[in-house]
Amino acid sequence: MVKDHIILPVSKPTEGSMGKTGLWRTFRPVINYDKCVKCLLCWFYCPDIAIKIRDDGYPEIDYCYCKGCGICWHECKVKAISFVREGEEVG
């Protein structure tokens, strides 16, 4: 039989196409909401789209996908984010 069409593999857009990339993390950013001024610089720079903006305007880290690069921690101008080793408490 002659094929009159070509079959192409097509991928569908999906969150977590590489799984829960939060598992890669060795350090964890933690937001201190007493210090956060809602400037959203952390949201702005995150290469992993792992910071969501809550209805009240505060950023919230999605630990399912945050790889722990530390950019949010490093760029936060009011030092509202700490960066702690996974498994340890915020000191």
Partner: protein, 302 residues
């Protein structure tokens, strides 16, 4: 300039992609897609991005993407653009998205052809200064003095000024951008989207892996590149050249350029030349020459 608050919140790059932590190229892609919107078709040749997308049957990029051969980013984009034209589709942007290896070296022939033919495409090159995906080999974009696996004692040649080669093609829009300034990058893609014909945007994308710096420094390193004048933000449109962002401030004397060593010293890749005064002077000389040329060009195009 657009403020963070006014930035569109819709994300067309989805979380859970495969980039290394702190990848500058993904900050760039996130904002390029915010600017271009859903009605975009991408062509991505072999490069980090083609891996970052994720594994079949899933992808992290929420617009249609064609994965194509290394040399074919621009020619595929040209073909898609011709196809859309034949179908009278006018509101779709065709974006070729390629690395520096796939642009400066391997894709330049197809890119030059598309520019010469006046094809209606945006070609964006995210420049991480090396063949990142295959483990950091030198490319035509690797700067003088930088270590790569194929330049173990530091590269002996300067990078190729690809943005100027594209400008010489006489196309309607050419710009440089940097991952550390997503707002500037966003505005440039937004502007490019409205223009017809070949458009070229070259994005300096700091890469923690190839440049040897900690993953949290990506934005800082990009800022230092611009502050030291090693990377210059500009835009060419309607036959006129404008500096943008911090480069504009530097050009107008409102921001003082910092010594390039401040940019180099945070990156392990410059270890081979960090204590070599002659090499550092050579890098400064090249930066000053580039600035002199760009300022003269801006004047000439006035």
């Amino acid at each position: 300039m657009v403020s963070i608050r006014d930035m569109p919140k819709e994300e067309l790059l989805l979380p859970g992609h495969a980039a290394c932590p702190g990848c500058g190229a993904m900050i760039a892609l996130r904002y390029a897609l915010k600017a271009l919107g859903k009605r975009t078709i991408m062509c991505v040749p072999a490069c980090c991005t083609s891996v970052i997308q994720g594994l079949y049957p899933h992808t992290s990029i929420a617009v249609p993407v064609l994965n194509i051969a290394f040399a074919a980013a621009a020619s595929t984009a040209s073909g898609i653009s011709a196809g859309l034209k034949a179908r009278n589709v006018e509101d779709v942007t065709v974006l070729a998205w390629a690395g520096d290896g796939g642009t400066y070296d391997i894709g330049i022939q197809a890119l030059s052809g598309a520019a010469e033919r006046g094809d209606d495409i945006i070609y964006a090159c995210y420049d991480n200064n090396a063949y990142g995906n295959t483990g950091i080999q030198r490319s035509g974009a690797t700067p003088y003095g930088a270590w790569t696996t194929t330049t173990p004692t530091g590269k002996k040649e300067h990078r190729k000024p690809l943005e100027l080669i594209m400008l010489e093609h006489n196309i309607p829009y050419v710009a440089t951008a940097c991952s550390a300034f997503p707002d500037d990058l966003y505005m440039k893609f937004k502007k490019a989207r409205k223009i017809k014909g070949p458009r070229f945007i070259l994005i300096l994308s700091p890469c923690p892996i190839a440049w040897r710096f900690p993953s949290w420094s990506t934005v800082e390193i990009g800022k230092l590149a611009v502050k030291s004048g090693a990377w210059v933000l500009w835009e060419y449109h309607n036959g006129k050249l404008e500096f943008t962002g911090w480069s504009k401030l530097i050009a107008e004397g409102k921001l003082k350029k910092i010594p390039v060593i401040e940019y180099l010293k945070h990156q392990g890749r410059f270890k081979p030349i960090l204590k070599d005064e002659k090499a550092i002077n050579e890098i400064e000389r090249r930066i000053n020459d580039y600035w002199k040329f760009m300022k003269a060009l801006k004047e000439a195009l006035k």
